[in-house]
Structure formats: structure tokens, C-alpha cells
Symmetry: C2
Subunit: 96 residues, 2 copies
């Protein structure tokens, strides 16, 4: 879980995930155009997102096609959900 959270711990990667989530077409280097980062840097972030499973990649001719792995996103949401069980119970603290 910490691993998945780490993927979300950088603004650039969140921006990438948002882009992929919004565009239904799985863009590739269009991401580079949208972000103020070098191509190699974006490629590196995409690699990390792919490594932890949050996105999938497909080599489509000379260009690459990335898209969100919604199953992994579901897992992420569920695992984070554990932390919020207290919210549903309306937990209040004894002190603080």
C-alpha cells in the first residue's frame, strides 16, 4: 500500500493519472506536451506508474500507448479505505 501511495506522492504523477483518466483515448507523448517536464522525465514517471501497476502500456508502432489500470485503482481505493473505517463509525477522539 505504501508503494501505491508513493506513486501518488508526486504532483507530476498525479497530473499524468488525471490526464489518462480524463482522455478516454490512451494518449502517449501528448502527456509530454501537457506537462512542463522533459520527455525523459515523463517517461520515467510513466515507468514508475507502470511498475506499481496503476497504468498499463502498449507499444503501438513507433509510439507508446498508456492507459489507467482500473482494477489496480480499485485495489488502491480499497486498501486506502482501511484507514477510513473510523470515519464511517463517526469516530471521535477521546483527547486532542
Amino acid at each position: 500500500m505504501a508503494e501505491l501511495a508513493k506513486a501518488l506522492s508526486h504532483p507530476a504523477r498525479i497530473a499524468i493519472l488525471k490526464l489518462l483518466a480524463e482522455m478516454d483515448t490512451c494518449i502517449c507523448g501528448e502527456i509530454v506536451q501537457e506537462l512542463p517536464l522533459a520527455q525523459s522525465t515523463v517517461s520515467q514517471h510513466l515507468k514508475e506508474l507502470k511498475a506499481c501497476g496503476l497504468v498499463q502500456g502498449e507499444i503501438d508502432g513507433p509510439r507508446s500507448c498508456y492507459c489507467i489500470n482500473w482494477d489496480a485503482m480499485k485495489e488502491l481505493r480499497d486498501s486506502i479505505g482501511i484507514l477510513f473505517t473510523g470515519l464511517e463509525r463517526g469516530n471521535r477522539n477521546k483527547c486532542c
Copy 2:
């Protein structure tokens, strides 16, 4: 949001949050006992969790009392939720 995610990006901090969420009493140095880390390290993690608002602290005599800030947790859940709108729509990808 990246800032909050970063707080969750380390196993020790997740462990601390879980401890605080489970025990209704706001423990302090008991956390040190539960984790295989030095006191100073735990203190540092607590400081980070406090800095991003996920936990609150109170100095109670010679000891410190920490507890979860449930409002901040709610915000975290909501902000992360943005990424999952596609899940509710049953999003499927065009490719990959």
C-alpha cells in the same frame, strides 16, 4: 494532494496511522514500543504526519498525545476520490 499521499508513502507512517485509528486512546510513546524504530525516528514521522495535518498532537505533561484528525482524513479520501470517478462510471479503456 501529493503532499497527503506522501504521508502515506512510508510503511512506518501507515503503521502509525493504523495504530492511532485502532486505539481509541491517543497513545504517545506506545507507538515506539510497537514499531521497530528508534524513538527519534518515530518522533520524526509523527512530526511529518502532524505537518500535513493528518494527526493532531497535544502535550500532556511530560508525555505527548497524538490522535488522528478525522476531518483531514475525510479531505484526503475526497481528494483521492477524484481519481476514481472513472470507476463509478464503469470506465473501460479503448486500448491496452
